[in-house]
Structures are given as C-alpha cells and as structure tokens.
C-alpha cells in the first residue's frame, strides 16, 4: 500500500501518517517527495510517500466496498484467467471518483504489455463494465488498473525522458517531436516542462494519440 501525506516538517508529516494508518513508525518506509522551504509568503511544507508492507498480498478478492467494486474486480479476474494468465485482483486505492485495482500475477509482464497497451485495454473494458452495472442515476467511478506499480514507474520515466529531451532542445535550439502518447501522458509532459523557461510544448496530430513537440524559445526575461 502506498499513501501520501503532507506536513509542515518531515516529523509532522510522519506523525500524520502514524495517526491515520494506525501503525508504528517502524512499520512503514518513508520516502520524501518534496520539501518546500520557508518563504516570505509561504510556510514550508514537506510531502512524503509512505510504503506499507502489504500483509494481504496474494489473498484474492478482499476488502471490497460494495458489490460494484467486487463485481468489477471479478470481471477483471475472469478476463485475465480466460486469457490464460491467472492472477488476483485487489483494491489499490479508492476515492469518490476513482477505483484503483491492482493485478498480482506471475504473468504481469504480458498483462501490462508494450507501453501498458494490454493493461489499458483491460482497464477500458473494466470501465465500460462498471459503467454498465452502476445504477443510471449515479455517476460511475473511473477504474484505474495497475500492476507491479507500472503506472508510477511509467510516469517517472516519461517525465525523466521529457526533461532530458528538453535539455537537448535547449542545447541544439532545434525542436524535437516525441513519440505518440495518450492524453494523460502528454499532460504529464506539459506540466513537467511548464516551469522551464527556455522551452514550450505543443501537441501535434489528430485523434487520441498525439505527439508532443518541444520547442526552443530562448529566455527573453
């Protein structure tokens, strides 16, 4: 399980985590994400990510909140089993709008697929399915499927790649076109490069999979 907490100091954030999770401090690992030091107008803050050893690992279909979650997880479990890559599905996280499901399988590599292609396909069907079984007067939650923490690793690698390419653009002063990506991934790049003064980003092409171009504009400030 992974959760994020924010506090004025690192200690403050950790004690929040202790209080909310009901665990001792030595029962989880802490990773510091962001430290904002005290400024003139802003008080400093520390963002941490907490990793808790999953004791329920390998126990399938547990901790579901209501039939909709349970049926959606069963739908995904059945699909991967009929694909010939059996595994277990559990709830990763949930909030009012989203339901995160995690697939544990020894075949996770093929279930994720090239650039997450197979996992995205399973996710799409899970969303259609949840939309169908949700009562008409309710707005269905969005299902987000993950396995082996792939989504976060992919996000990190996209941002790293974008920063590296932006540096190259700054040096060569020529624009560069990235590979086609879906809207979510393109947004990551636009936001990641937003604070770089020397480059701007633009999406090119049609349809769901557009390409981001990183363009040098020089710092005119």
């Amino acid at each position: 399980m992974i959760r994020e907490f924010e506090g004025k100091t690192e200690k403050d954030a950790i004690s929040k985590a202790v209080a909310e999770l009901g665990l001792q401090q030595d029962e989880f690992d802490v990773e510091i994400l962001e430290t904002v030091s005290n400024g003139i107008f802003k008080r400093g803050s520390v963002k941490i990510r907490v990793h808790v050893e999953d004791e329920s690992a390998g126990v399938p279909l547990t901790d579901f909140d209501g039939d909709l979650e349970k049926e959606t997880a069963e739908f995904v479990t059945n699909i991967i089993e009929k694909m010939g890559y059996p595994g277990s599905v559990s709830v990763n996280f949930r909030d009012e709008r989203k339901l995160g499901l995690d697939i544990k399988s020894e075949h996770s590599a093929i279930l994720i697929g090239k650039k997450g292609k197979n996992m995205d396909a399973i996710q799409l069907l899970a969303n259609v399915y949840l939309g169908k079984i949700t009562p008409v007067d309710e707005k269905p939650a969005r299902v987000i499927i993950d396995s082996e923490n792939y989504r976060r690793r992919r996000e990190d690698s996209i941002i790293r790649m974008a920063r590296k390419t932006a540096e190259q653009v700054c040096r060569s002063k020529n624009s560069k076109l990235l590979e086609p990506m879906n809207p979510f991934e393109r947004r990551l790049i636009h936001t990641a490069l937003n604070d770089m003064n020397d480059v701007i980003t633009k999406s090119e092409g049609d349809g769901l999979y557009k390409q981001v171009r990183i363009i040098y504009k020089g710092s005119r400030e």
Partner: protein, 77 residues
Amino acid sequence: MERDLVEYIAKSLVDYPDEVTVNMIEGEKSTILELRVSDDDIGKVIGKHGRIAKAVRTILSASSTRDGKRCVLEILD
C-alpha cells in the same frame, strides 16, 4: 481459450447475453472468431470509434501469443 474469452467479455457488456454467439473457424496459423450479438447490442461491443472492439482485439492478441497462434475477431451484423 480465446473463444470463451470473447464470449465472456461480450456477454458481460451487452443487454441481451442470451443472444451472444461466437463461432470459431480454426485455420493452420490463425483462428477466426465470429462474434454475433443482438442488433441492439452492436454498439456495445464496438464502442465509439471502435474503442471497445479494439480493446477486445488487443486482449485477444495478448492471449493468443501464449500458444503462438494469431486470433482474428470479426463482429458480424
């Protein structure tokens, strides 16, 4: 098996699961799966811009690499 997979997905998504049939034509290197659903349900298995059909085909090809065969999905109307 791929036939069960397509049948299961289709039955889960349509309004008239009893009218879902999947016909399998096995060739040497590839298998053709013919999916037939109620006229009212065609949109449910194809989706906007074929999004659902594309997802099913992606899942199908991931599944069929297991035994080194190609699988083709045809949606009949």
